[in-house]
């Protein structure tokens, strides 16, 4: 059993990366070195829009999250929320989508012997957005995650 523990989750700093449709809100996480932990990032979709979910039918473009490992921080898993169903008007088809505000949890582990202090993890959210009338080209938002190792 993987035992992971968040030592502190302090909202002393909120970083927002945004484009026209999607905002990525991140908070600095403070972790004791050598322990596993989790970062939750909040994704906010502009009212009236949705993005394709993480699990979609083959032809569609899923929402994905890329996080580059730091030398002392290793990403173990990324947990996406369940999708909502969006009915295409005039059809019997339902799409798996996200809208409103939702969270993605990033599970990570840290080495015991680490450089103490602030570490930055480079992240990129890839998504394809639509509203009820049209769809937009796939886009990406880059952001930084802050992890303070103590």
């Amino acid at each position: 059993m993987i035992k992971w523990l968040t030592i502190f989750l302090i909202s002393t700093l909120t970083v927002i990366n945004t484009d026209e449709i999607v905002k990525v809100n991140t908070q600095k996480v403070i972790v004791k070195a050598g322990l596993d932990s989790v970062i939750n990032i909040a994704i906010e979709i502009k009212n009236g829009y949705h993005i394709q979910a993480n699990k979609v039918e083959n032809q569609f473009i899923p929402t994905t999250l890329e996080i580059k490992n730091d030398r002392e921080i290793t990403i173990k898993n990324k947990i996406f929320p369940p999708a909502k169903k969006f009915k295409l008007k005039g059809t019997d088809q339902y799409l798996n989508v996200y809208d409103g505000i939702f969270e993605i949890s990033i599970l990570f582990t840290t080495k015991k012997e680490v450089r103490k202090g602030l570490h930055h993890l480079y992240g990129q959210l890839n998504y394809q957005a639509c509203d009820s009338m049209r769809c937009l080209f796939p886009k990406s938002i880059e952001f930084l995650l802050e992890v303070e190792l103590r």
Partner: protein
């Protein structure tokens, strides 16, 4: 001073009203459709000019666009119903590779050409000026349907006329019927 304020309010209100109307109306109606010459998946070249004398239905698509996928079988059905009535259909795929298009759209077995707008320039040329300025010009027409009449003029443009998504192409067919009947 009051009269100046009234004039200012009138000008602002008129501008707002015009902007709202521009968003609601079908754009570019009556205009000569921007010309294009594009290759299909087999490398055969098609131009809009070659189709003069026919009604041309154009659908701007990408393989990942849910609206386009939902419409696709109905476009094929429309083509079968109308091809003997002087109607031709093109899908213009925007900025995607041939292999992906073949793989994804292959399941629809289109009888009409799927044209490759590899750099998005044709799509951008169909983006009405000033409409959706925050979008890239080549993404504005995505999932739109147009009818270009026998003289090369735009007779129907579904761009901002989608208060309800017309997957079954009911409105498009209705307009086609009107045009065909007028020309009979």
């Amino acid at each position: 001073m009051k009269s100046i304020l009234r004039v200012l309010v009138f000008i602002i209100a008129s501008g707002f009203s015009a902007s709202v109307n521009a968003q609601e109306a079908q754009p570019m109606l009556g205009q000569i459709a921007p010309s294009f010459t594009l290759s299909d998946l087999n490398g055969k070249t098609y131009s809009l000019e070659q189709s003069r004398g026919k009604f041309v239905v154009v659908h701007f698509a990408t393989t990942w666009c849910p609206f386009c996928n939902a419409e696709a079988p109905n476009l094929e059905q429309l083509y079968k119903e109308y091809k003997d009535k002087g109607v031709t259909v093109f899908i213009i795929d925007v900025k995607e590779g041939k292999e992906l298009i073949e793989k994804s759209f292959g399941r629809f077995n289109f009888s009409f050409p799927v044209l490759l707008d590899s750099d998005g320039k044709v799509s951008a040329s169909y983006a009405p000026a000033g409409v959706l300025p925050s979008l890239q010009r080549d993404e504005v027409p995505l999932a739109s349907n147009l009818i270009i009449d026998k003289d090369g003029k735009i007779s129907y443009y579904s761009l901002l006329n989608t208060t309800s998504f017309d997957a079954k192409l009911t409105n498009l067919k209705q307009k086609l019927d009107e045009l065909i009947n007028v020309n009979d």
